[in-house]
Amino acid sequence: MDREQLIKYIQDKFPGKVTLLDCGRVEPFFKVELGFLKEFCQAIRDDTTLGMDYLCNIAGVDSGEHYEVVYSVASVKNKIRFDFKIFPERENPAIDSVIDVWPGANWYEREVWELYGINITGHPSLKRFLLPDDWNQGHPMRKNWDAPDFVRMPEN
């Protein structure tokens, strides 16, 4: 399945819910409606033509104006790969967890939650991940985050 066919297939399969974005030079890039995420993931994984059984990556993005969460998925069987993204709200951002679809999403979602402050509904263990356990200085990957001055933390 080449690029054009893939775009057409996905747009026909999910009319109105998925739009093509014009970014990305090689693999197609889609925008998925916020509430449709989990359904979409389930559908593309179980669809026999697509069979996107492999989750490559989940990346949170803060473009300055809005948050994005980008999913890169691939099919080991059918050798297809594409990306899609969703745009959570600016205030109190939250997205659905896709652990049920791809268990490997676990740590990626924890990372998005921790570094961008995007809440993951349905995630079993949102605990501190990369940052120290006593971290209380916000979400460092946000663009408006100011690095705190380097001061020695008080001993307990």
Partner: protein, 370 residues
């Protein structure tokens, strides 16, 4: 009620790491144990977090290449490559032929070097100290070759956007051939030490079995995935650079246990040597770097590009807004998913098996923590 019945057993929580000889960097496992048997594992990561992704947002594209070196320091060439490839995809750049071949040579030599580290540490984690020294002896050859080429032995900063940093010196090709000539015999040596060693086999067979469906669902890639019987190699399935011009095998195994992961990597070393040999034979003359402007600004866009690293899929997700600095760089390493799946396949095994599994997955912590 007798005295014996009154005795209670309780779960025993063992903190393995962060400073532990076999956690490959600084990873901590919180083990819930019953005697020697592991009931549950929870990996605790983040001890090597250096905020590489945040740093990348404040660097120009040329400055990011040395940052990617630190992403996965056992195969820095691959990290450079993954980033350069992503940016080249964004900018739709043409790479000179000679640079393409040099990249392949470096990537495959680096894959061998990385597998040699894995070979040494695997044996070391199982208690055999001698193979470690053997692996590092050959790795030294490769590091000398790299040093000759780019002056560095660990963080190369060699593969750049648009090509490679500089041409190889004239002694490189004969030295490299000299290495390849002895290398197959060296791998035979390694195999004689471990492959049929009874103790090594019983320690690894049927330990940490990872079924193929589970491996794919958890995002496991690279040798660990191929050991489970999935013939998936990005060099073949999603060809990048010029890998489609080379003739090499993709070894697979069936059981997905630690022993198969060992076999796969040993075979891969031979295949990599084969690729390097072919690349040296075909190496054309010419430029080694495309014309890249001093102030490099790729067009706006975003791309996720992935390459096959020695530890699995290494991906770089780059967003450019048309300025000199990227908006976002996300690094994805194979170890991330491999470490994530370890609790799944470790429950019910002994503590010594956790060490064997960790070694066979070839997890390296900087790649996880970034």
């Amino acid at each position: 009620m007798s005295e014996i019945d009154k005795l209670q057993t309780e779960e025993f929580v063992l903190n393995m790491g962060p400073h532990h000889p076999s956690t490959h960097g600084v990873c901590r496992f919180v083990l819930k144990m019953e005697g020697e048997v592991i009931k549950d594992v929870e990996p605790v990561v983040g001890y090597l977090h250096r905020a590489l992704e945040k740093i990348c947002e404040n660097r120009t594209y040329a400055q990011i290449i040395p940052v990617t070196d630190r992403f996965e320091y056992c195969t820095s060439m691959s990290c450079n490559m993954a980033f350069a490839l992503a940016v080249e995809k964004l900018a739709a750049m043409e790479i000179p032929e000679r640079a393409q071949y040099l990249r392949i040579i470096m990537l495959e030599l680096n894959r061998i070097a990385s597998h040699l580290i894995w070979f040494g540490t695997t044996a070391l984690d199982l208690g055999a100290i001698t193979p470690f020294l053997y692996g590092f002896r050959e790795r030294e050859f490769i590091l000398d070759l790299f040093e000759m080429t780019c002056g560095q032995r660990l963080t190369y900063n060699y593969i750049r956007v648009g090509g490679v940093a500089r041409d190889i010196p004239t002694q490189f090709v004969p030295k490299c051939r000299e290495f390849l000539n002895i290398f197959d015999a060296c791998v035979d040596d390694y195999e004689r030490l471990l492959t049929e060693n009874v103790i090594f086999v019983v320690r690894n067979k049927n330990v940490g079995v990872l079924p193929p469906e589970k491996a794919i669902a958890w995002g496991v890639s690279g040798p660990a995935l191929r050991a489970s019987g999935v013939k998936h190699d990005l060099r073949r399935d999603d060809p990048y650079c010029i890998y489609d011009r080379f003739d090499f095998e993709i070894p697979t195994c069936q059981n997905g246990d630690c022993y198969d992961r060992y076999i796969i990597r040993i075979k891969e070393m031979r295949e990599s040597a084969k690729i390097v040999r072919q690349a040296l034979d075909k190496l054309p003359e010419g430029e080694t770097r495309a014309k890249v402007k001093m102030v490099f600004k790729p067009p706006a866009g975003e791309v996720y590009s992935r390459i096959e690293n020695s530890r699995g899929e290494m991906g770089m997700y780059v967003i450019s807004d048309g300025s000199t600095k990227p908006v976002r760089v996300k690094m994805r390493g194979g170890s991330y998913n491999q470490l994530q799946v370890i609790p799944e396949i470790t429950r019910g095994h002994k503590i010594a098996d956790l060490v064997a599994i960790m070694a066979s997955m070839d997890v390296i912590m900087p790649e996880v923590d970034r």
